[in-house]
């Protein structure tokens, strides 16, 4: 059977509301490359097709590289992408291709979902992943993560990578979400104790946003004025 014939048969079954499991399972047994081509070239995009492929992901992984497989599946799962990403993260929690998957599916918010997942599961490797995403160019997703959780780590990592603009946004966002966020503590641990200019910039930006001055910023400024 050619790929075109298989594609046609699959379309007809889906359009008439019939089960696809029989034919898909048969192709998987006889000629799994047919399924690989239909999926990777996105020849059929349908939620039932996607759900079924998800249920046989382990089999598909045997002959499709996981990053390509999950990017293709992710494109099929447009309505349930957050759940899909959670599912992949649980299945492959340490795979570095997750960064490429996130880039493909989340675009400019790359890293956001993975960071949220790490945050909710209290993962100790969150800083390592944040660093990896930042090094691969993630900015908006990491800033949004800081803004939504108050987590101080994106600010520290972005400043360390010399992206002062994104670092400032992440620091201010974290403080607005949680005025007790240990932003200065993590900045000092990441880039060193000479933070006067950064603290002044954060304070000015918080003032612009009409946000209250966090206690740690007030303490820092007090130390400076005493000096």
């Amino acid at each position: 059977m050619s790929v075109e014939q298989a594609e046609q048969q699959l379309r007809e079954l889906l359009e008439t509301g019939q089960s696809i499991s029989g034919v898909v399972d048969a192709w998987m047994e006889r000629d799994p490359q047919i399924m690989a081509i239909i999926l990777l070239e996105q020849r059929v995009v349908h939620s039932i097709f996607a759900e079924h492929l998800l249920s046989i992901a382990d089999q598909l992984e045997a002959f499709i590289p996981p990053e390509e497989l999950y990017v293709a599946l992710g494109k099929q799962m447009t309505l349930n992408q957050p759940d899909f990403l959670d599912w992949v993260l649980e299945k492959h929690p340490t795979a570095f291709w997750l960064i490429g998957l996130s880039k493909e599916l989340e675009g400019s918010r790359m890293g956001y979902h993975h960071m949220m997942y790490k945050h909710h599961t209290h993962s100790r490797d969150l800083p390592m992943w944040c660093q990896q995403y930042a090094q691969q160019g993630a900015r908006d997703g990491l800033v949004a993560f800081a803004q939504d959780t108050g987590n101080p780590i994106p600010a520290a990592i972005l400043y360390d990578l010399k992206d002062e603009s994104a670092g400032l946004e992440a620091a201010v966002g974290a403080f607005i979400r949680n005025p007790k966020s240990p932003v200065l503590e993590f900045l000092a641990a990441k880039i060193g104790p000479n933070l006067d200019e950064i603290v002044l910039a954060i304070d000015a930006k918080l003032d612009e946003e009409h946000a209250p001055r966090p206690k740690m910023i007030a303490w820092w400024l007090e130390q400076q004025s005493n000096g």
Partner: protein, 182 residues
């Protein structure tokens, strides 16, 4: 003539947050460029933050208020160190003064090694058995050493780290350098 610069750095731990517990200060004084770097071993990012920052600020203030010789400065710093250091912590501190004449003086406590970079080559400034690295005191104060010839960079390994210079990647990621104050 532009005064020479010898950057002073300290090695932090090999982790995502290498500079936890590290403090530093620098000032241009009449006796020369004064730099200091130190590290509180086993510091916690959050718990020891204020103490670490206060060490930087207090050293800066001490430098700013100083009048007198290099020897007097060293003594003031060590008096401050002994007054402020909690008994339960390993605290490393190195002070460096580069005089306008180009003489480089150092004094240190809690250091396992000091390395200099000259002509792209790192070499130990003090031998492993050096009395300075063993924290021996003279007249109740840590010794001062003069470094010759002048290296371009100096990197300090604080105790309890071993006296082994990190790889070139480690030197990039784990060394906090005091900025030039020229």
């Amino acid at each position: 003539m532009k005064q020479q610069v010898v950057s002073l750095g300290i090695v932090g731990k090999g982790s995502q947050f290498p500079f936890t517990g590290i403090f530093s200060a620098q000032q241009q004084l009449s006796i020369g460029k004064v730099s200091a770097v130190g590290r509180i071993h086993d510091a916690d990012i959050k718990r020891d933050f204020r103490q670490t920052i206060q060490c930087s600020k207090q050293l800066t203030m001490l430098f700013q208020a100083h009048q007198g010789s290099i020897k007097k400065l060293f003594r003031s710093v060590w008096d401050w160190y002994h007054d402020s250091k909690p008994h339960s912590q390993i605290v490393s501190l190195t002070i460096q003064v580069l005089s306008p004449d180009g003489d480089l003086w150092m004094s240190m406590v809690g250091t396992s090694g000091v390395w200099g970079l000259l002509d792209d080559t790192w070499y130990p400034l003090l031998a492993d058995g050096s009395a300075v690295l063993q924290d021996k005191y003279i007249a109740e104060y840590p010794m001062a050493v003069q470094v010759q010839p002048l290296p371009e960079r100096i990197v300090v390994l604080p105790k309890p780290f071993q006296n082994v210079l990190p790889s070139s990647i480690g030197l990039k990621k784990r060394v906090l350098e005091v900025c030039d104050v020229g």
